[in-house]
Amino acid sequence: MVRLPYLTALTTLLSYGILFVFGQLRDLFRKFLDSSKSNDLQGYAPICLGLEDFYTRRLYLRIQDCFGRPISSAPDAWFDVVERYSNDNNKTLQRTEKTSKCLNLGAYNYLGFAAADEYCTPRVIQTLKEYSVSTCSVRVDGGTTKLHNELEELVARFVGKPAAILFGMGYVTNSAIIPALVSKGSLIISDSLNHNSIVNGARGSGATVRVFQHNSPSHLEDLLREQIAHGQPRTHRPWKKIVVIIEGIYSMEGELCNLPEIIAVCKKYKVYTYLDEAHSIGAVGKTGKGVCELLGVDPTDIDIMMGTFTKSFGSCGGYIAASKEIIQHLKQTCPAHLYATSMSPPAVQQVISALQVILGEDGTNRGAKKLAQIRENSNFFRSELQKMGFEVLGDNDSPVMPIMLYNPAKIPAFSRECLNQNVAVVTVAFPATPLLLARARICISAAHTREDLIKGLEVISKVGDLVGIKYFPVEPLKPQKVIELKKIE
């Protein structure tokens, strides 16, 4: 939970207020100075009217160099960040040829499969030569290869469900599956901090959508009781189906979801559950099987489990694992299966090889080592950051840790200072997070060694002092405690 100090809230609001006022002044000047310039788009409405892109033009463009930094090597533990410069005050950015080697604390590379791997890459290149880059066809026509079938079986076995279906992109998985499962007359209850793909899918389905407070089973229960009792709005007919959508790890908070209690509530009221494990599959759990394994929930209790291959497996695409009937139904109706080009065969092979490494089926124990490494790394980093006095969100064992910044000026300050000292971090502000709660998000990987983490901690501590984000300094040990220790000895 975020503990926002009052003074910080005030200063943040004041900063945004000043930025807003200056932005409006600039807009005013632009209206006067640009009205003389003729527009050849006479009679056309502009692409953005009025205040629609105010945030982009006046606030985001000032700190544009903190986002979208290009890299010129694989997103491994250390990578090359391309340097950019701007001649017109950050409105456009030009690439240079120079790169600087930085510690990667921002990319989703939880198990270290991002760069060329000794087991996966030769097999991927072999598949590339055999099956070529793409099948140019949809799955139902001529785009299903042996590899796709093999991967579907492997994913189903890994996750603990009877069957699975693959898609070429994680975002499309959510947006195209939810309309195929629910439609008008059904109810979707989703967590308030769910990802944009789930929101899009829910909106595109035509069902009624209600939101429950983040990670709160009691509010979910109240909402369910109220909705089932009252039925559909206006007609009060009973709902056809109710689906509750939650995520395994919330990427902006680093929190694990309260899975056992939410599943208990859902089973009591006979509603269906949909779990999005984009960030947790492969990254948490003793053998990498996700939040179900970590929190002790049986996968058969969850109706539909979804995940992506981008984060822990170093590939691209998504999957849905569920019972055989649901998967067969989806294969007939899901638009992403019927209309979209099938997943590229080398990417499929990468996931197969990564899963074999994690399960130990490649003959080594690299998988187990990676899983232990990421857990150790995450817990070490988080405890060290908390000791230094930063406000770090998230639960133990989660590889995502946001550090709160709050003030809009600290976002570029933190980002640029860290880059100067060769540490690449990701900063997130409005609209991905609430306005006052800007943060820097650290993603730990199994490819980071202890020395890398210690260097990262040093730099972050130095920059944190410079920028002033150590909001909760830990008090030094009082002398009485030292006397007690002496007594025991």
Binding site: A74, Y108, I125, S132, T144, Y339
Partner: protein, 479 residues
């Protein structure tokens, strides 16, 4: 007895009339206070008192906990998915090799007309080598969205290459073919805007139109008169042209029918009525035009007149992903407001390098386009007299679309007939063709049919074999 009542009544009446006719006792503000005025004032007070009382409503009792418990116990949800019938258990053919013009399906070699491999780039040595290099250098995935270290230099090179090839200022890459159009449309069209779209657009466009929450009006498939009438109707009704954005959405080659949109006509109408065009060139990029630059080159329209062009790269360019191009304003706007770009991981770098290699190949060998055109012409010639089926696609479209001459009346039986034709063609003559499969979420009203995707690397023998096989099976099944 009666007389006493009579007396009492008479006395009461006398008393009332005395009160009424009582002489003026007082004069207040020049108004003499007569007796009847007092009674009238009393009556008014009683009326006012009644008006201010609340009207009678039966009290509203909220549901008690016990009642809610009962309702929750009684509620029975529908099953998540309907029952699976026997015919839904059919599996698609499994490829065991690359999807080139000759592929191995279920153990035997077939002539493959199911891949949109228009330029024959599957299996091309240059592309495979550049991909292998990219895989060694960058790994497979890009591990992040574009805003957070997911931008790799090959992405920027690919965007610049495509923009240079088409002659536009800039372009933007998406990580999946169908997510391109359904992210672009909601980025530009908001609630209150007007979109005029062709009724035969495919599902991804329909989804984008639905997500944009704008007012959508459909016009008859590829019918310019209907488009003009719709534009006229829509503009005469709209009140604030300066505040409402208006778009025409169309595909260059419709994948549901194989028709080609007459772009010069559309551009003329767009300029007359002040609309913007969103054109989906997934199947025409790298196919139409003298050098493969798409529909604008084929129709002789300057590329600046088309506001937004999107295309999926899973067809002619034999890779995956999509791009969108237009003016600087159009492309820059998407970098922050297009959900499929901002909230999703970026395209894997080896696919971007495959796209660069494919565009280079196209620039260097534009003769492959004439090979493709010759193949299409040959096949169309051969298929002009198939019994029971008629070709409905355009002469230059690389998707050859055949529909039933006489439909049986129901979509399901049509589907059965077409499926049996396709299955027999595959089993007996080893030619892989496909039927159009529609999802139940798809609202396209165009008829279903058989599709053949022609490639520049099909040999003449392949085309003749496919045509002969189709004629034979069609006469068996449809007679």
């Amino acid at each position: 007895m009666a007389s006493e009542i009579m007396n009492a009544t008479a006395n009461a009446l006398v008393w009332i009339s005395c009160t009424f006719d009582a002489p003026t006792r007082a004069v207040v503000f020049g108004v003499p206070i007569d007796g009847h005025l007092v009674v009238e004032v009393l009556l008014v007070v009683v009326i006012l008192f009644q008006l201010t009382r609340k009207s009678y409503k039966p009290p509203k009792k909220p549901l008690s906990e016990k009642e809610i418990d009962e309702l929750c116990d009684d509620w029975v949800p529908d099953p998540l998915t309907p029952q699976i019938s026997e015919e839904m258990m059919v599996e698609p053919p499994t490829l065991e090799s690359a999807a080139g013009p000759h592929a191995i399906v279920d153990g035997k070699e077939v002539v493959n007309f199911a891949s949109a491999n228009y330029l024959g780039l599957i299996g091309n040595e240059n592309i495979t080598d550049s991909c292998a290099g990219a895989l060694e250098k960058y790994g497979v995935g890009s591990c992040g969205p574009r805003g957070f270290y997911g931008t790799i230099d090959v992405h920027l090179d690919c965007e610049a290459k495509i923009a240079k090839f088409l002659g536009t200022p800039d372009s933007i890459l998406y990580s999946y073919g169908i997510s391109t159009i359904f992210s672009v449309i909601p980025a530009f069209c908001k609630k209150g805007d007007i979109i005029v779209a062709d009724e035969g657009v495919h599902w991804a466009v329909q989804n984008g139109l639905y997500l944009s929450r704008s007012t959508v009006v459909y016009f008859k498939h590829n019918d310019m008169k209907s488009l003009e009438a719709t534009l006229e109707k829509v503009t005469s009704r709209s009140k604030h042209p300066e505040k409402v954005r208006r778009y025409i959405v169309s595909e260059a080659i419709y994948q549901n029918s194989g028709q080609i949109a007459p772009l010069d006509e559309i551009v003329r109408l767009k300029e007359k009525y002040r609309f913007r065009i969103i054109l989906d060139e997934s199947h025409s990029f790298g196919v139409l035009g003298n050098s493969g630059r798409g529909l604008a080159e084929y129709c002789g329209v300057p590329i600046e007149k088309i506001d937004i062009i999107t295309a999926g790269m899973g067809n002619a360019l034999a890779t995956d992903g999509g791009f969108c191009t237009g003016s600087m304003r159009v492309v820059d706007h998407q970098r922050l407001s297009s959900s499929g770009y901002v909230f999703s991981a970026s395209l894997p770098p080896y696919l971007a390098s495959a796209a660069i290699a494919a565009v280079n190949y196209l620039e260097a060998n534009s003769s492959v386009l004439s090979d493709l055109r010759a193949n299409i012409a040959t096949l169309l010639n051969e298929l002009s007299n198939v019994p029971g089926l008629v070709v409905t696609s355009h002469l230059l479209s690389p998707i050859i679309f055949l529909k039933l001459k006489k439909s049986t009346g129901s979509d399901k039986t049509d589907m059965h007939l077409l499926d049996s034709i396709a299955n027999q063609v595959l089993k007996e003559d080893s030619v892989l063709i496909v039927t159009t499969k529609r999802s139940n979420l798809d609202k396209c009203p165009l008829p279903i049919g058989l599709r053949l995707f022609v490639s520049a690397s099909h040999s003449e023998a392949d085309l003749l074999k496919a045509a002969a096989s189709l004629k034979r099976v069609a006469s068996l099944v449809l007679s």
